[in-house]
Amino acid sequence: MPIIISLKRIFNTGWKSFSQNIGLSVATVFVLVLIISLASSLFIIKDATQFVISDLQEKVDVSVYFKEDCPEENILVIKEKVEAISEVKRVEYVSREEALESFQQRHQDDEVLMSSLDELGTNPFLASLNIKSWQASQYASVVNFLENNGFEGQIAKIDYFQKKPVIEKIFSISSQINITGLILGLIFSIIALLIVFNHVRLAILNSKEEIEIQRLVGASNWFIRGPFIVQGIIAGIFAVFISVLIFGLGIFFLSPKIGEIVPGFILFEYFASNFFMILLIQLLVGIGLGVISSSIAIRKYLKV
């Protein structure tokens, strides 16, 4: 098995020079830990905001109130048409009586309200359609549909405009988080690439003479290059190990606090159930950065 023997030797040599240049190796691992942590945080933050957004979206809807004289059949026709719009998730019809009933139920202990309702003598509530769309950004087009299809005469008001700022806020926060995360991730990845690149570059320059000798005694390109790539991989693996530890501990202690900020989002549980996904991301980032940057350094500085 010459290939296995060679791989083993390449790995051993890589490990040897990794442990011999311990100062440089620690610095490289440290930077990789930063990057891996950032990547994992982005992943978790992305899911946490997704959780918050979908939670909020679940609460946000648009209500369309119909004029008092608008017959129920017309409303049901509009309901059908609205349901046919692809952006719409669900439409709920609330008749005038149902609206009154639910109001009474909600405020049955409030005597002032109840007595003023009695004094009024008539049902002051309007029939309405509660419309829920798949995404916050889709409400505008639903409202647009209602306003421009000859229904305006029957509609008393659409309370989208009261909820609009909230909807837009959610929308912009989520896209801002994504963009910021992406930019940060990109910047940090470039820094990590440069640092690992520099590590391998120094290692190559340090052993310039050795490489020359290895060439002369007939070492193949990969026998010489391999150990440098291995150094990148080892740095990546160590960094993943440390990051997992830091993350595990950090999340264990932070979880209750995060639970207060994002109710219902139990960070530790989330971490535990997504552990392998997070680990995979960390391994990909750590080892990927290690391999890519050492390969670039080899291409540039190790002419075999």
Binding site: S6, S17, Q214, R215, G218
Partner: protein, 226 residues
């Protein structure tokens, strides 16, 4: 086995190291290449290993034009040759044993083979006691012997020895030359570059004399005449 065909090598556009050299070396030959320092001996050997490229002419090793071998196939050429370098070229981060074992590792030898062969070769060159020492802890002569052990370890078809006795005392010099003769008798081609008269005269083998980059003499059972 080896053929230099009208080979010229010029450094920095005006220093002519080799001037239109043609030379053939057959299998199992023992050839001494002699000449003063700077006569072109080392350049000749570097061309053979494809460490340098000639400005004109061709160099053949076992019918392959050395300069046409793709860089990824060069290791295969070099593994067929054992080289004893003038400046030893030992791996400073490895000890004596590891330096010699490295060549076998490169060739993909098994750990058992390495454990069997390396001690034998170290014994031949008299370095068994120093197997754990690193190059910086060795004298010039000891480093030279490590270089020799490394050149022998994989039983190459050709051994190139560039001033292999330059740092040895007369006693060890004789040992090394006897060793090279013995290897040659067993069927390995040996090219010895040296400027030591006594060694060459004692060998009574083919001598190629270089002067200012040209072959001025090529004799079977030659002598060192300059």
């Amino acid at each position: 086995m080896i053929k230099f065909q009208n080979v010229s090598k010029i450094y920095n556009s005006d220093i002519c190291a080799l001037d239109n050299i043609s030379l053939e070396i057959k299998e199992k030959e023992f050839v001494s290449i002699v000449g003063r320092c700077g006569a072109g001996k080392t350049t000749l050997l570097k061309l053979l290993l494809a460490e340098e490229k000639p400005n004109s002419g061709q160099v053949f090793f076992q019918d392959n034009d050395v300069q046409k071998i793709k860089s990824r196939h060069l290791p295969e050429l070099r593994r067929r040759v054992g080289v004893i370098f003038q400046d030893y070229k030992l791996l400073s981060s490895r000890n004596v044993y590891e330096n010699v074992a490295y060549v076998m590792e490169v060739m993909g030898a098994s750990n058992e083979e390495i454990k069997r062969d390396v001690p034998q070769v170290l014994e031949i060159v008299g370095l068994t006691e120093k197997r754990e020492n690193f190059p910086v802890q060795l004298s010039g002569g000891e480093k030279q012997r490590v270089a020799i052990a490394r050149a022998l370890i994989h039983r190459p078809q050709l051994i190139i020895a560039d001033e292999p006795t330059g740092n040895l005392d007369p006693y060890h010099t004789q040992d090394i030359i006897k060793l090279l003769e013995k290897i040659n008798e067993l069927g390995t081609t040996v090219i010895l570059a040296t400027h030591y008269k006594e060694i060459v005269n004692g060998l009574k083998k083919r001598v190629v004399t270089l002067e200012q980059g040209r072959i001025i003499r090529d004799e079977e059972k030659g002598r060192f005449i300059l």
